[in-house]
Amino acid sequence: MSAIIVKELTKKFGEFTAVDSVSFSVEPGELFGLLGPNGAGKTTIINMLTTLLLPTSGEAEIAGYGLGRDPDSIRTNIGIIFQDPSLDIGLTGRENLEFHAMMYNIRSNERKKRIQEVFDVVGLTDKAEILVENYSGGMKRRLEIARGLIHYPKVLFLDEPTLGLDAQTRRSIWEYIRNLNRNYGTCVILTTHYMEEADFLCDRIAIIDHGKIIALDTPSGLKSRLLGDCVSLTIEGRIDLIATALGEKEWVREVIPDGKTLDLILSDYEKNIPEIFQTASNLGVRISSINFSKPSLEDVFIRLTGSTIREQEGSRKSVRQERMRRRMLR
């Protein structure tokens, strides 16, 4: 039985269609990602699946309970970590967790045990008696994750779990999410607009844009839709010579000279880089630097939507990388 089945779920706000006939299913124990830019409709999907918002049309089943028919059973079986903070900052960490556990009808002895357990999971045991208003952003996030776990949900929803956190905290939260998915077998659905996050965590990813799923696959499956790797060379000497020579190789898909730099789209760069140097030295051309990149989910996103997920910076470098990416994807 699937943990979540979504069929043609649609939400309209007046004339605006925020979620447009979305269908997917998630298996128990799976880490499933909804990836897309801000405003794509990810949070609206989560709000509908967590019974906070009624769908305009369509159906969904969460942990075996139908959406709209049995909201209380759904609420008992899910945990949710909202995009915006949702803690009572006037209470201590422990009091926040106690409140939550009591709302879910967990008995006193069991409650103490579980609170200790989840505090250990997120590493906040020594901060339990401190008022939440004195917590840092990362600590608050961890406390929210701990709170979402207390009632042992079958499905855990995470809406932008690492939004606004520094790189180090983000890493550690990824670890927590991964561990709880492995150790408890909890099915996790997370939304994110960070490519690295989806890539690092998710078993499968649905890419969402303008309220529609435009691709659904494993991270490597999504990336294999791309054509190849990108290598960027800085050349001293006759750039036209080496461009022509490399262009004749069968593993080179495209050659793009740009001033002193030469960008190449090629397959299996690990194997073919020695040959690039060989060719250069045969022609008496010096390569002063080399730069290569594997395709990222960001590239997949650009190919599917025709735009980057984050706003592009205006620097020359990023513009050039952008052009590279687009070429790589043709």
Partner: protein, 254 residues
């Protein structure tokens, strides 16, 4: 479906927060305390027509100020709902399997308790200023009346909080509602002294019956019968609980 556990959890949270933030207690007591001291002492010698000389203005004023304390603390209870909404905590409450009616009752019970505590502090203060307290069973009876009064005004605050989103809007609207209710209720002077058209308005003010019931119990002087007062208060508070549950059910949380 009413879940006692949910009501208790929400009540307990309110208590923890109430006793943790002392400034909140002092702030809420300040205004009625000043009224009690300056109005009560300053008008001590004044004789109102329609008021037995044996009672005296200070005795007459104390139940009014207790009513005022209940009105203002209770009406502002909606403010903490607005705060929970802005800090996102309300979403956390609404996503739990607790029934909506239990959530509303939990909020009411917490705020009613704090309102009654404030009112009792004012009562104690007035004793220090010379208020002659009736027998203990009358004081206990007056607490029941206090619970009914705060229930009515808490629900006004809750309904308002389900319709509004920000602090400023809420405090403006609630002041606009609470002040006329306070002045019309006869908390400061007998309603019978008001000109007829305004006096009719005062009959639509729930606090009129609340203050009158408190007077009947605490100083043995009231305009309407205690039974009438209590039946009006009881009916209104039940209606208000139903109304605020209804508004809460359909409120947009997100």
């Amino acid at each position: 479906m009413i879940q006692a556990r949910v009501i208790y959890v929400l009540w307990r949270r309110e208590m923890i927060k109430y006793f943790r933030v002392r400034s909140r207690i002092a702030g809420a007591i300040g205004m009625p305390a000043f009224m009690l001291i300056f109005q009560g002492m300053g008008f001590r010698k004044v004789e109102f027509p329609g008021l037995p000389a044996s009672i005296g203005y200070f005795q007459y004023l104390v139940p009014g100020i207790i009513g005022m304390t209940l009105l203002f603390t209770a009406a502002y209870a909606g403010m903490s709902v607005i705060m929970d909404k802005q800090f996102g905590f309300l979403k956390e409450v609404m996503v739990t399997p607790a029934s909506r009616i239990s959530i509303v009752l939990g909020m009411i019970s917490g705020s009613a308790t704090t309102s009654i505590i404030q009112a009792l502090i004012i009562m104690l203060m007035s004793v220090l200023l010379g208020f002659r307290l009736p027998l203990i069973h009358a004081v206990l009876f007056s607490i029941v009346i206090m619970a009914l009064i705060s229930m009515i005004f808490i629900n006004i605050g809750l309904i308002l909080s389900s319709l509004l989103k920000d602090f400023h809007g809420f405090s403006t609207v609630i002041n606009f509602i609470a002040f006329p209710l306070f002045l019309l209720s006869g908390a400061l002077f007998p309603v019978s002294n008001l000109p007829a058209p305004i006096r009719i308005l005062s009959y639509f003010d729930p606090l009129t019956y609340g203050v009158d019931a408190l007077r009947g119990i605490l100083i043995g002087h009231c305009e309407f019968s205690i039974v009438l007062n209590i039946s009006i208060l009881l009916t209104l508070s039940i209606l208000m609980v139903c109304a605020s549950s209804y508004f809460f059910q359909r409120a947009e949380i997100i």
